[in-house]
């Protein structure tokens, strides 16, 4: 099915964000694992796998629209050096992703591609949930202190 080129470009932008997030979350998860923070590793590893599933959906949708998914493009990774910084940088990445997905949804809406729009809306819901989790972690650290917080993540 021949798709609209503006929609395909917007989907490719979202794909780049997804591919970047897969790598950033994966590295952060395994850094936490290496330091012994099993809980943080579990949660962030799962977030990375979810990003991969989103990327898969976007790739399949672009192919269905007769476009070429660009798996080569990757944005800069923001890798932290210590736990609090890593969570803050993930939060920053997540907020930017949400902005990109919202922009892509408006493009789909304007071009009347309601199926792509629905797919992005489903992805957006999961992104907002993960951002909420990240916000909670950052505010927990502010409230109970980094030492107490990390004690809970072993």
């Amino acid at each position: 099915m021949r798709g609209n080129s503006t929609v395909i470009a917007a989907l490719n932008k979202v794909l780049t964000r997804k591919l970047t997030a897969i790598n950033q979350y994966f590295l952060h998860a395994r850094m936490f694992k290496n330091w012994g923070f099993a809980e943080l590793n579990d949660h962030i590893y799962k977030a990375s796998i979810k990003e991969m599933k989103h990327a898969d959906e976007v790739i399949e949708r672009i192919l269905l629209l007769d476009g070429l998914p660009n798996l080569q493009e990757l944005s800069k990774l923001y890798i932290g050096e210590e736990p609090h910084e890593m969570l803050k940088l993930d939060d920053k990445l997540q907020s930017e992703d949400i902005r990109y997905i919202r922009d892509a949804i408006s493009v789909c809406e304007a071009e009347k591609d309601f199926v792509s729009r629905q797919m992005l809306a489903d992805i957006l819901e999961q992104q907002e949930n993960h951002q909420d989790w990240l916000d909670t972690q950052c505010s927990l650290i502010d409230t109970i202190g980094i030492e107490n917080y990390l004690q809970r993540q072993l």
Partner: protein
């Protein structure tokens, strides 16, 4: 934070290098290899460099008018 993942260079290392005399992206490239592999970090490295330079009292940030528009230059003395 890791500014350059290819060479494993952090923002702290860049700030320290500025304290020790680094003044440009070229200096950072020579010292650490920042931006010499994939190049994705150049923009972020420039931000960290400028932030560190502005925090110093012996560096003046000047705006120079030119035919291409206004140029921003850091002058160290």
């Amino acid at each position: 934070m890791y500014v350059c993942l290819c060479k494993g260079v952090t923002d702290k290392q860049i700030r320290k290098a500025v304290d020790e005399g680094a003044r440009s992206i070229r200096d950072l490239r020579q010292q650490f290899g920042v931006g010499s592999q994939c190049g994705k970090c150049t923009c972020c490295a420039r931000d960290v460099l400028h932030e560190a330079l502005h925090a110093r009292a012996d560096v003046v940030h000047v705006y120079v008018p030119s035919p291409q528009g206004t140029l921003e230059v850091d002058i160290a003395y």
